[in-house]
């Protein structure tokens, strides 16, 4: 792409796909913006009226909004923390020469391929069920009262499920990074008198800084919109305890039949995601440049 001619040709050739992508993105966004200014109830179709920013005021002042914002942040933060700390741990383990490594690796990666709805169902019915779940059985065999996970600590239960799905992803990325660490560097550190812990802190962790930022970025994008796990297990409850923004928008639209309010919520979610993205990109930018 060095001459002017090839540059012009290049622009012409990519133009259709760029236009298509742009339209693809802008049409739904504009429609959502438009709906968010209407009073639009599915119970009373055909009676839409322009209400200005009323839907936004309603959505943002709803106590459910603040609760679900907090839930979203707690969910994202906890899952990130668990998957990165756990991911580093498993990556270090899998980096050792162990017998049958390919099979172990495949098993570690497997949860990532399970659909969110399926894994939530498995956790709900096989592990966390207060009567027939595995955890309940373990608790009973030690003489404890089983925990009713989704009633007593619902958000924690959902964090566990989601972390279980994302841990393999973090492990995989961090393992690949670990394997690209120059062996002579570790040997140089060994000659310099660094023990395993010092080597980890001073050599391995800085080497992992970049892949960790990548994991944070990618996971955050998906974790902001966790939905299936909540729908399948708690339905956002009890009360609002497990309602995140994505679930709140859904509840607004399809449980309260309020398309206008849901659209306003959707736009709020987009703005929030962009704020998060802004900070992430700055963080990543710093880490990826160096």
């Amino acid at each position: 792409m060095s001459t002017r001619q090839t540059r012009t040709a290049g622009r012409l050739l990519v133009a259709p796909s760029v236009v298509l992508l742009f339209v693809w993105m802008i049409v739904p966004l504009v429609m959502t913006l438009y709906f968010s200014t209407l009073r639009y109830s599915l119970l009373d179709p055909g009676s839409e009226v322009y209400v200005g920013l009323e839907n936004y005021r309603y959505f943002l002042t709803d106590p459910a909004f603040f609760a679900s914002l907090v839930n979203t942040l707690v969910l994202v933060g906890s899952v990130l923390a668990i998957s990165i700390v756990g991911g580093i741990f498993f990556a270090l383990l899998l980096d050792q020469p162990v017998w049958g490594l390919p099979i172990i690796r495949l098993m570690v990666i497997a949860p990532f391929f399970v659909m969110p709805t399926v894994s939530a169902l498995i956790w709900k019915n096989l592990f966390m069920h207060p009567v027939s779940g595995l955890f309940a059985w373990i608790a009973r065999s030690f003489g404890f009262t089983p925990v009713d996970w989704f009633a007593e600590m619902p958000l924690f239960a959902i964090i566990v499920i989601v972390a279980w799905q994302w841990l393999p992803f973090a492990t995989l990325i961090l393992l690949t990074a670990l394997q690209s660490l120059d062996g002579e560097q570790k040997e140089a550190a060994e000659m310099d008198g660094a023990g395993p812990v010092s080597t980890f802190i001073w050599i391995v962790l800085p080497h992992l800084a970049r892949p960790i930022t990548v994991v944070i970025l990618i996971e955050t994008i998906f974790l902001l919109t966790v939905f299936a796990e909540i729908l399948v297990t708690t339905g956002g409850g009890p009360g609002l305890q497990t309602t995140n923004i994505a679930f709140l928008v859904y509840a607004q639209a399809l449980l309260q039949y309020d398309v206008g309010g849901a659209s306003a919520g959707g736009i709020v979610a987009v703005v929030l995601a962009n704020i998060v993205a802004f900070f992430l990109v700055r963080l990543i930018g710093k880490n990826l440049e160096a």
């Binding site: 002579e184 040997e187 550190a189 060994e190 000659m191 310099d192 008198g193 660094a194 023990g195």
Partner: protein
């Protein structure tokens, strides 16, 4: 202090014996170079001394203490790697000071020692840079700085100059030699470049398939190689080996003559042949000559002789400088 002794050191990787058993003494303060062809076990032997590999048998003594069972960190040696192995996310200062930091040295003392080492190596302007922002030669010097700052009993170098260009290699070669003499620290240096070996070493250890073939000063090895292998390895261009009638005339199955120990003329008595290729370097000329009775030899002639490819030539070797080897490749006394 830094006297290193190897006693029957062996190394086996799985089924393969890489070092069958090496006995060697490296005197305190000396510069010892391990040379040998690729894959002969030079790096392995060095890593055994460093403690980066476990010995399969034998003893390693540093100042009389058996260190074969000790971890690398406790042997008091430092190593310069072929890839330099600098820590990419630390500054030059951090890289050089890392070993001291691990040893729990106070901050002020680390700073003082790092700055002193940087000054010796002309690295002071680069102390706050990361390795990625340095040239190859500068990185090399940081790696050396990391080695000297800990005041080790001995330096171990594994082909430290092989990633540099020719001019820089000559310069760094001199710098390393000078530094080692100034500090008086024992050094073991691995290379497969015989020019580096000849110019830097107090003593050269020639390795062949994990065995010590010969140990001696560069000139000893040049003048009195005790085998065909050493004779062929030390000296550049390589020694010429002749069999058949030429060798029979001197009563040995194989004889060797160095290119610089032959005189070339257009006529007279000697080995007759035809110039196949003449390489004119100005100061001297390398003649590759097809001999009348088979074989090709290289002769080094001072200055210009005016010979070119296709010309007839007569080579007369210096009779005192003809090496004779028996059927096993061992040198035969004159």
């Amino acid at each position: 202090m830094g006297k290193i002794q190897l006693q029957g050191v062996r190394k086996v990787f799985g089924q393969v014996t890489v070092i069958p058993g090496v006995d060697l003494t490296v005197d305190d303060g000396s510069f010892v170079v391990f040379v040998g062809p690729s894959g002969c076990g030079k790096s392995t032997l060095l890593r055994l001394i460093a403690g980066l590999e476990d010995v399969s048998g034998g003893h390693i003594f540093i100042d009389g203490r058996d260190v074969a069972g000790l971890p690398a960190a406790q042997r008091g040696l430092s190593m310069v790697f072929q890839s330099y192995a600098l820590y990419p996310h630390m500054t030059v200062r951090g890289n050089i000071g890392f070993g001291l930091k691990m040893a729990g040295t106070p901050k002020a003392e680390i700073a003082r020692k790092v700055e002193a080492a940087a000054a010796t190596l002309n690295l002071t302007p680069y102390l706050e840079r990361k390795p990625g922002q340095l040239s190859g030669g500068q990185r090399q010097r940081v790696a050396i700085g990391r080695a000297i700052v800990r005041e080790p009993k001995a330096f171990l170098f594994d082909e430290p100059l092989s990633n540099l260009d020719a001019a820089l290699r000559v310069q760094m070669r001199l710098e390393i030699s000078r530094l080692q003499k100034d500090l008086g620290t024992t050094a073991i240096y691995v290379t497969h470049d015989q020019v580096e070996a000849m110019t830097m070493a107090d003593r050269i250890v020639v390795l062949n398939q994990g065995n010590v073939e010969q140990v001696g000063s560069p000139i000893e090895l040049y003048e009195r190689p005790n085998s065909l292998f050493v004779a062929g390895f030390i000296g550049s261009p390589q020694m010429n080996f002749l069999k058949g009638a030429y060798a029979a005339a001197h009563g040995a199955p194989t004889i060797g003559v160095r290119p610089e120990h032959m005189r070339a003329a257009r006529g007279g008595e000697g080995w007759k042949g035809v110039v196949a290729v003449a390489e004119h370097l100005g100061s001297d000329t390398f003649l590759h000559v097809d001999l009348a009775e088979g074989g090709i030899v290289t002769a080094r002639v001072i200055g210009e002789l005016g010979l070119s490819a296709g010309d007839a030539v007569v080579l007369s070797p210096d009779p005192a400088r003809i090496y004779r080897f028996d059927a096993d490749g061992k040198a035969v006394a004159k």
